[in-house]
């Protein structure tokens, strides 16, 4: 497009007609009478005098005929005029001044036309000083110098009339302002972070020795008998009111608590409470920042601040994933809720991450193993997690419930229940399982096949064979054939040994390959 525009510009510029220019006509006599020279124009003065008059004294050439005296060619009109005036004065004869243009005689009209052309084409410029006799050149220069210089095209005008320039300067201003704001923000954040890091390191150093002394030099009873002032006296007094110092102290206590056992844990918790750090922790729950609330919840969990249970309970269905995950984890840990109701009441679906955390807590909390409320939860993901817990924790007493529940369970639950049955080798009737071999859910069919493979009987072979023949899914066919192979190799060879089907042939080879036994 640019090239096109440029091409257009250059080609069309060439075709444009020359514009006519205006000029102010000046009478040629006016110019000549001021003693100015017009290029190419010369003058000859001639006069007829009586024969007795010798005009050679006037620089006139002697007459060749008819007593006509004439000058040489004169450059200035005023010279010819002066001569004419002088002759007239002394001899009362006027004579004639003739104009020549490049040695050719020219009339007055012709001379005027020639002069106009010179002016029009700017070949002859009449200077003001030359034209005006009234103005003194020197005065004009002095006057001119007194006026301050003002350029005709000012930069300001040029910028303000150029739209691109206005836009560009606006962008530049916007960009510079945005950049400055960003730089300032980043600088502030970086400085704060650096200062905080330095302070945290310093506070850590200051906490380490007093905490070690309390742990290793004082008994649990000693610490119990100590007042808040006594313990605070060991620590830097002037820093105890600083929230950051308290945070560092709590983190140090938690860190030690994780790595210690027995009395040391009790000592640390005692120090934590004696210093009223639990109040500092609980205060965090009122923060507007999700990460501070979560930190508070984690601290409550680590330090077993049971009195904060009610406050933490407010967060179990919080919209923020981290707040609610940690709130539930904390309640599972510190509350006496052995029925896991906190989990059962979850409104949001449980993610695998949450399941991982809750499983770890439940696994190490011996009292919390009653999963029946989970299995009755309105939240499907909670019910699925409940079934998983039965499998992970080996809660065989729940298998009967699962068996009864199975027919009305949803697919995700069925898959988990089948895994559970598979693990414990338990199922009262395979009939309901066979029904699921016709499900459209591939994962469910595969789990059902896997269960049948482990606990199936002769009737199962028929169901599996039927499945292997009707399915168009390679993975299901492979699972079904593997199940038949496991249940009865002879039947398997009979059915599939000579199969011409490409998939079946490949699966046969796979199943018979000793290296792939566990694949």
């Amino acid at each position: 497009m640019t090239f096109f525009a440029l091409l257009l510009f250059f080609s069309l510029q060439a075709q444009q007609p020359e514009p006519e220019e205006d000029f102010v006509p000046v009478p040629v006599e006016e110019v000549l009478s001021k003693g100015l020279e017009i290029p190419g124009v010369r003058f000859v003065y001639s006069v007829s005098l009586p024969s007795n008059i010798d005009a050679s004294g006037y620089a006139l050439n002697p007459p060749s005929s008819a007593n006509l005296w004439a000058t040489d060619t004169l450059q200035f009109f005023i010279d010819a005029k002066a001569l004419q005036d002088s002759i007239y004065k002394h001899h009362n004869v006027l004579g004639e001044i003739q104009s020549f243009l490049f040695d050719e005689t020219i009339s007055e009209e012709g001379l005027q036309a020639y002069f106009d052309n010179l002016l029009r084409n700017e070949l002859y410029i009449i200077e003001e000083a030359q034209v005006s006799e009234d103005v003194n050149v020197g005065e004009l220069i002095i006057l001119g110098n007194k006026i301050p210089f003002k350029p005709f095209y000012r930069l300001k005008i040029q910028i303000l009339t150029d739209i691109r320039m206005i836009i560009l300067i606006s962008f530049l201003t916007f960009f510079v302002l945005a950049a400055i704001v960003l730089v300032i923000v980043i600088f502030i954040i970086k400085t704060n972070k650096r200062n905080k890091d330095i302070l945290v390191m310093r506070f850590k150093d200051l906490c380490y020795e007093p905490l070690s002394n309390l742990l290793f030099e004082k008994s649990l009873e000693d610490i119990q008998n100590m007042s808040k002032g006594d313990i605070a006296g060991i620590l830097p007094k002037n820093l105890m009111h600083k929230p950051l110092f308290k945070d560092v102290l709590i983190q140090e206590i938690i860190s030690l608590n994780k790595n210690m056992k027995g009395d040391f844990k009790l000592k640390l918790k005692l120090v934590y409470r004696k210093l009223d750090l639990d109040k500092h922790t609980i205060k965090k729950l009122s923060s507007k920042r999700w990460d501070i609330i979560t930190t508070g919840i984690v601290e409550i969990n680590e330090m077993d601040v049971v009195e904060a249970e009610a406050k933490v309970a407010q967060f179990i269905n919080h919209e923020n994933f981290y707040i609610r995950s940690n709130a539930v984890a904390t309640l599972l840990n510190i509350s006496s809720d052995s029925d896991l109701k906190v989990l059962a009441d979850q409104k949001y679906p449980l993610s695998k991450w949450q399941q991982m955390i809750y499983y770890r807590i439940i696994r190490y909390t011996k009292n919390n193993r009653n999963v029946s409320f989970l299995l009755e939860s309105e939240n499907e993901s909670v019910r699925v997690f409940g079934v998983k817990l039965i499998r992970y924790l080996g809660l065989v007493d729940q298998l009967e419930f699962l068996n009864n529940y199975y027919p009305q369970a949803g697919d995700p639950e069925k898959i988990e229940i089948l895994r559970c049955f598979n693990m414990f080798g338990f199922v009262e009737s395979l009939d309901v399982i066979y029904a699921d071999l016709k499900s459209e859910n591939k994962d469910l069919v595969k789990e059902a096949v896997s269960l049948i493979q482990n606990i199936g009987d002769k009737i199962s072979l028929v169901a599996l064979f039927e499945l292997s023949q009707v399915t168009e899914d390679f993975d299901i066919k492979k699972a079904a054939m593997k199940a038949i192979y496991t249940l009865n190799k002879i039947v398997f060879e009979e059915y599939f040994g000579e199969s011409a089907d490409d998939w079946e042939r490949k699966i046969c080879l796979h199943l018979n390959d000793p290296v792939l036994t566990n694949v």
């Binding site: 836009i167 960003l182 984690v298 770890r360 998983k388």
Partner: protein
């Protein structure tokens, strides 16, 4: 009249360039803020994550690591061993030999006691014939599967690996990448955390390993490369990963996950038909197709990104190799956008169609062309005399400082988030490159991009007709056979 037309054209072009520049600047400033917010949240979230649990938890998803290898005989054994020592309980390593002409197969067989098996798999994704699938007779290497196939390119090798894989999540990586031992636990976290949306893929940061000290498969001492191009790529990777992708993640608009280190939901990958081997930008194309599929099926989804330094690779320091890489990236971008042109500015595709796709089309794909036209325009204006020196200086200052600002921020992000490059000499060296880059390296990058456009127009490497006509639906790829290549 004609002169007026020219003036109007010049004005319009000038304003268009200004608007283009303005929107780039605004976009990048917004991205800077978004990435900062995302990084802040990520670092805060990291405080509450216990990754040790992930390693052993029965709830954690299983992972198939797929690493295609072509003529990697020199390091293939070491790299496979390194992959098998990653900290995770349920994972398999599938090394796919893509018809190497060196001794890769022999070395693998010898080192891992491999034997040819009759491994039966579902060939749901079309790929070049597989010669053999090997498993080890040594139980120590039970996690390893070695696939030997005919040469078909990286995407084809990955497709073969996907066919053989059996786990929930597939991790596609370059076999020469160095992975941190905790990389798997961190990368599966987004898959595990999400409650209301399906996480279809998770991308990770690739670090520049040139000149770094590596110990036990992890970079222990970060140093910037010696060469100019190496240093430039360090900054470019910061910009791309810590700023660009973090910002896109913030609005769930990420359209590219690096082919060297990407994790995918296997179920969705199979549904869309795996990688499309006929494009040179297979990594981007797969993500766009997966996203498109989810939008068409109206299933809530998310593409995650983990900014922690977990994977490192050697970047090319030779101009020739780098130019080829950039040419390929540009062609890949054009091909992907061409294949999925239907989603551009289509509200049905949400953020993907209305923000990510137009952004890539305007700024990533067309940037070299726009920059070149801008330079020609400026030169033309100077030649014709219709150009203000103030305008030129202002424009230059704007562009230069913008470039410096963005690059500096990316370094600052790295410093604030991870602070891996602790040596002040290295930092000074990077800052020097930030100042020089717009003059020395950027013009070359633009040139390589232009060559990419040119090569695309010539039909180099791609699959002309199919790419030009594009996919009508995300699942259309399944109808495309590899044999047509």
């Amino acid at each position: 009249m004609y002169s007026l037309l020219f003036e109007i054209l010049i004005e319009i072009l000038g304003i268009l360039f200004l608007l283009y520049s303005f929107f780039i600047i605004v976009s990048y400033l917004i991205m800077t803020v978004l990435s900062a917010l995302e990084m802040r949240d990520h670092l805060r979230k990291n405080k509450f994550a216990d990754y040790l649990d992930v390693v052993t938890s029965p709830v954690s998803p299983s992972i198939s690591i797929i690493a295609p290898a072509y003529n990697e005989g020199l390091n293939i054994v070491q790299n496979a061993k390194s992959l098998m020592t990653l900290h995770y309980s349920k994972f398999e390593v599938i090394i796919v030999n893509d018809g190497s002409k060196d001794d890769s197969v022999e070395k693998m067989i010898e080192s891992f006691d491999l034997v040819k098996t009759d491994f039966a798999f579902n060939p749901s994704i079309d790929c070049k014939p597989i010669r053999a699938i090997y498993k080890s007779t040594n139980r120590s290497f039970s996690k390893l599967t070695f696939v030997d196939k005919e040469n078909g390119g990286k995407a084809d090798a990955l497709n073969a690996g996907i066919n053989v894989s059996t786990m929930d999540v597939i991790a596609c990586i370059d076999v020469d990448c160095i992975l941190s031992s905790g990389s798997l636990t961190r990368m599966v976290r987004p898959f595990m955390e999400e409650t209301n949306r399906k996480v279809i893929a998770v991308g990770g940061v690739i670090g520049v390993a040139n000149n770094c000290e590596v110990k036990d498969g992890t970079v222990t001492d970060y140093r910037v490369p010696d060469s100019l191009l190496g240093k430039f790529q360090v900054i470019e990777y910061f910009r791309s990963f810590l700023m660009g992708r973090m910002a896109w993640t913030r609005i769930n608009g990420l359209m590219l996950i690096s082919g060297a280190f990407g994790f995918f939901n296997r179920e969705i990958v199979l549904k869309v038909g795996g990688y499309f081997p006929q494009t040179v930008g297979e990594d981007m194309e797969l993500i766009v197709r997966m996203r498109r599929y989810m939008e068409e099926e109206k299933v809530p989804y998310k593409v995650g990104f983990v900014p922690d330094p977990l994977c490192w690779t050697e970047v090319p320091e030779s101009e020739e190799i780098l130019s080829r890489q950039r040419n390929r990236w540009m062609r890949g971008t054009i091909e992907t956008l061409q294949l999925h042109k239907k989603i551009g500015m289509n509200p049905k595709y949400g953020i993907l169609g209305m923000i990510s796709f137009p952004f890539w089309s305007i700024y990533e794909k067309n940037a070299p062309i726009m920059e070149t036209i801008g330079v020609i325009y400026t030169l033309a204006m100077i030649i014709t005399g219709d150009f203000s020196a103030i305008y030129l200086v202002a424009l230059f200052v704007l562009i230069y400082f913008f470039s410096v600002l963005i690059s500096s921020f990316s370094i600052l992000y790295e410093q604030m988030a991870y602070n891996n490059y602790k040596n002040k000499k290295d930092l000074r060296s990077l800052l020097k490159i930030v100042l020089l880059e717009p003059f020395i390296i950027h013009p070359r990058v633009v040139w390589w991009g232009l060559k990419g456009h040119w090569d695309f127009l010539k039909g180099k490497g791609g699959w002309g007709i199919m790419i030009r006509s594009g996919f009508k639906k995300a699942v259309d790829k399944q109808e495309v056979g590899v044999t047509q290549n």
